[in-house]
């Protein structure tokens, strides 16, 4: 059974074409800027919105067959747009073995599958999913090993997984969240660029910080460390983008 929080139809920022995104619950990292706090833990999250007075509980266990029907509803749209299904989270790869039956069925139905991951899991998890997955949207948060440790990750493992996935012929799309005060200084940016260039990366997606998740923190009764953090200005974003552009082709994903 898969532990999911939400299924979102008509996703347009999670890979090529029109996609349906399935959000999986549970995460092994604790990034303080996270925009999906409801997916940090495996237990259902209860959100009570003050603005609308509505309460919702996010978190349910579903079987592959149960969810497949819903994912296939939009098959015609996937086919027309070269889209498909994206698994996001949380950390998707924590449920790698539970994902096997579903991704197998999706593949059998001709549906492209992308997996969004921060990649701090043993490569063995990727190996069991690889046969059924079209590609990975792979987060790369920093080139500083200490910073990775602070959020519970492991830079060495991330680099190893990217390298091995590429060696095994899987499409890997590097995505860098741009978090003010964490990885947006020229020095951090430079370091990220060099590290990724070393391992042969040619393209990156940049995901500018936003604080859209803050309502969810409040609805869950949690403090959000980035509540008052302003988004990057157009100017700042342009400067950061310029550095990345000297190394890679770059796309800014809204």
């Amino acid at each position: 059974m898969l532990n999911i929080s939400n299924i979102q139809h008509f996703s347009v920022g999670d890979g090529e074409g029109i996609r349906t995104t399935v959000f999986l619950k549970g995460c092994n990292l604790r990034c303080p800027w996270c925009h999906n706090p409801e997916n940090l833990n495996k237990q259902p999250a209860v959100l009570r919105y003050r603005s609308t007075g509505k309460t919702e509980t996010l978190g349910r266990l579903v079987s592959a067959e149960e969810i497949l029907t819903e994912l296939l509803e939009d098959k015609d749209f996937y086919d027309e747009s070269r889209g498909g299904v994206t698994f996001s989270g949380g950390e998707t790869m924590l449920q790698a073995s539970e994902l096997v039956p579903l991704t197998k069925l999706l593949k059998a139905n001709g549906v492209s599958v992308l997996v969004d991951t921060a990649g701090c899991v043993p490569y063995a998890s990727f190996q069991i999913l690889n046969p059924f997955v079209t590609g990975y949207l792979f987060d790369f948060k920093t080139a500083d090993g200490d910073q990775y440790r602070e959020i519970g990750g492991d830079l060495g493992l991330v680099v190893e997984n990217i390298t091995r996935l590429r060696k095994d012929g899987k499409a890997v799309r590097i995505r860098i969240p741009l978090i003010p005060g964490f990885n947006t200084s020229p020095r951090s940016t430079q370091a990220i660029c060099e590290r990724l260039q070393d391992i042969g990366i040619k393209h990156v997606d940049l995901l500018p910080f936003h604080r859209l998740g803050s309502a969810k923190y409040e609805a869950m009764g949690l403090e959000y460390a980035y509540k008052t953090q302003q988004p990057l200005t157009k100017d700042d974003l342009g400067k950061i983008e310029a550095i990345y552009k000297t190394y890679f082709s770059v796309k800014i994903e809204g």
Binding site: H9, G13, I18, T21, K54, E73, E80, G213, P231
Partner: protein
């Protein structure tokens, strides 16, 4: 300042009183004892020839209504109005306007050629005095029209030495006028000038929503010749078109581009692109651009349409050509005419230049619930339906559907009764339309007025079915709560609705939580299929006064708002006075599962039964209109049409909407913010975060 902008300023400078009735009156006054057709013709002749034309400094294409402002005394104007009003005119339900003239014909044979045709027809029908009167009336108006153009020519020439005017432009206008008085237009500019004079004449007559029809087709040969000979460039074509489009502000002028021919070939051409660009530059609401979309429409063209929509303009509306053609074929029109259809008004499918002007009415379906629940009499307004049985006699969903169908069938009869009464009250010959008849086949050949048998096809009427979403949601809520879960009864539901749910908050919440149309849920979507099938079958049996079809439409314009104001609370949890669902769209804010699910739902009904047309509104944030995201929108549209959808009206969510949503979150429950790996309903966000989003859209 761009040329069309200064033209726009000039058009706003007027003095005196706008008095078309005064000029008509001058014509009537010539012979008040004349027969009706001649009286009308005299009035129109005078309307066209008496006013002094106004040439504007910034125009390349002449023709406006400023000539109809006059300085006569109030007493004379009042007398004139009184007299003219007695000899009143047709209205929207009696075939006055919303018409696509046969522009192709006049551009081919020219104005003198049309007058010749009338003379030939007079010889053919020489033994029929009624036809001679009709033809003479037509001829008089065309001669008046020709004189009006001549006056423009003379005026342009008279101004040549004026220092305020550009000589080149005046010569251009005078030369074009001279050419079209004397023969068929030879250049693109002459053709455009002639059709614009026709449109101006219709406006002077007091008509509204006169469509341009398939402008990219009938003007194309002129365009091609001029471009091939190097006389024109696309930039000049666009400027000429802007000269015309900028004047369409307080009107709904449908302009149709694209479409397929009988061989299935897409007819998008370079002129279609110029029209799209000119509409986009002008950025005024009047030109109602419609794209007849086929699966072989070039992607780059559709992309440019989406880019235009993304500017906030909302045009073009995108129509599925295959579905429209299939729906029109059911009415027995000649194949070539079906493929040459265009739209009038907002979306109404029309046999270009071959049937009398359009009429339509609104059929507000959700009100029929009220009669079932309240013994045939509305609880909130003065309306009455059938009193069929007590609520206790309805013991299953199929019982409920039976009584609902009976109510609707009665409603359709009532609707047709009122429509027929209004039309039969009209003495067709009294309301002769000599000028308009010249632009409808085959009035000249037959010697008959457009509304008295002159048109090739009879008049049709569109019944705009309102509230499909409200009805589907209501039926699903009844089925689920009353007959499946048995958590309420019909009588409790009646009490709750009559109390506008005051004191019934819990029940209302359950009704709101029941399946809603627009989320690809078969439990409720089946009612949408039934809605179109059943109401389509009722209207299919009805006819207009002259034997034409009654089409159905799934459209409402904004009538769903006023209709909702007087309709009692409905079983879907809608409060009394709230708008009905709009057009063919799900109830606003209730399709919360994403655009693909909305489209999966709304493509289920069989729209080949909806010959008038339907409207599905979809709003997307401005970030959906970047080049990359437009590809995804294109895929969405193509899939929708492959599934049998009929029309998509895409709008970019404007800043104003986002601001309004901060103030009125209840209206925007489905407004989604989409970011990679994340989504949220806009209204759940805190105010400062909503402002972040506003700033994002501003940047884009």
């Amino acid at each position: 300042m761009k040329l069309f902008e200064s033209l726009n300023n000039e058009l706003r400078q007027t003095s005196g009183v706008y008095a078309p009735h005064y000029f008509r009156y001058l014509g009537y006054g010539e012979d008040l004892s004349a027969d009706y057709a001649s009286l009308r013709a005299n009035g129109i002749y005078s309307l066209f020839t008496k006013p002094n034309p106004v040439i504007l400094k910034s125009e390349w294409i002449a023709g406006n209504q400023q000539s109809l402002f006059c300085e006569e005394s109030e007493l004379v104007l009042n007398y004139a109005k009184n007299l003219v009003d007695r000899f009143s005119q047709r209205g929207f339900t009696t075939n006055k306007d919303h018409y696509a003239p046969d522009y192709d014909h006049i551009l081919r044979v020219g104005l003198p050629g049309m007058i010749d045709e009338i003379e030939v027809s007079m010889q053919v029908h020489g033994d029929d005095p009624d036809k001679i009167v009709t033809l003479q009336a037509m001829k008089k108006t065309l001669c008046g029209f020709s004189e009006m153009i001549q006056k423009y020519m003379l005026q342009a020439e008279a101004l040549v030495d004026s220092p305020d005017f550009d000589r080149n432009r005046l010569h251009f206008i005078a030369d074009n006028c001279r050419a079209i008085i004397n023969g068929p237009p030879k250049s693109f500019a002459q053709a455009l000038q002639l059709m614009w004079f026709c449109h101006t004449a219709f406006l002077m007559e007091g008509r509204y929503a006169m469509a341009f029809g398939r402008m990219d087709q009938y003007l194309y040969r002129f365009y091609k010749t001029d471009i091939d000979q190097g006389i024109l460039t696309d930039e000049m074509v666009i400027e000429l078109l802007e000269n015309v489009f900028i004047r369409l502000q307080d009107d709904i002028v449908n302009i149709c581009i694209g479409g397929q021919n009988q061989k299935g070939e897409c007819e998008i051409n370079p002129l279609s692109r110029c029209i799209l660009r000119a509409v986009r530059h002008c950025n005024v609401p009047g030109p109602n651009l419609s794209l007849r979309y086929t699966q072989n429409t070039p992607d780059d063209f559709l992309d440019e349409c989406l880019e235009t929509i993304g500017t906030g303009l909302g045009y073009p509306a995108i129509m599925n050509d295959d579905v429209n053609i299939a729906s029109l074929k059911k009415y027995g029109y000649a194949e070539e005419d079906v493929y040459n259809y265009s739209m009038v008004g907002c979306i109404e499918n029309f046999m270009t230049g071959k049937q009398p002007p359009w009429s339509d009415g609104r059929f507000d379906t959700p009100r029929f619930f009220d009669y079932i629940f309240n013994n045939g009499i509305s609880a909130t307004n003065q309306s009455v339906g059938l009193n069929l049985c007590g609520l206790e006699d309805i013991t299953s969903m199929s019982d409920f559907m039976t009584v609902f169908e009976k109510q609707l069938a009665f409603g359709v009869d009532e609707y047709m009764f009122k429509f027929n009464a209004k039309n039969d009250f009209i003495h067709q010959a009294f309301f002769a339309e000599p000028f308009l008849s010249c632009f409808c086949r085959d009035c000249i050949g037959r010697g008959l007025d457009i509304n008295c048998g002159g048109s090739i096809y009879p008049s049709v009427h569109g019944a705009a079915l309102m509230g499909i979403g409200t009805v589907c949601d209501s039926l699903a809520a009844i089925e689920k709560l009353v007959f499946a879960d048995r958590t309420t009864t019909l009588s409790e539901l009646r009490d709750a609705m009559n109390a506008n749910f005051e004191g019934y908050g819990e029940l209302r919440q359950k009704l709101l939580d029941a399946p809603k149309y627009g989320n690809n849920d078969p439990f409720v979507d089946k009612y949408a299929v039934w809605f179109i099938d059943y109401l389509g079958s009722l209207f299919e049996k009805k006819k207009t006064r002259d034997g034409g079809g009654i089409y159905i439409a799934a459209a409402a314009n904004v009538s769903n708002i006023c209709a909702g104001k007087i309709i009692n609370a409905t079983p879907d949890g809608r409060l009394r006075g709230e708008p009905l669902s709009d057009a063919a769209s799900p109830t606003y804010g209730r399709d919360t599962r994403g655009a693909t699910s909305t489209i999966n739902s709304v493509s289920k009904p069989d729209y080949t039964k909806v010959a008038c047309g339907s409207v599905v509104n979809q709003k997307f944030s401005p970030s959906m209109f970047t080049p990359e995201k437009r590809k995804k929108l294109m895929a969405l549209i193509k899939t929708y049409f492959k599934k049998g959808g009929q029309e998509l009206q895409i709008n970019a969510t404007l800043r104003e909407t986002l601001i309004d949503a901060i103030e009125h979150p209840e209206k925007y429950q489905n407004l989604v913010v989409r970011v990679s790996g994340f989504s949220a309903f806009y209204v759940t966000l805190e105010k400062d975060v909503q402002l972040d989003i506003l700033n994002r859209t501003q940047q884009e």
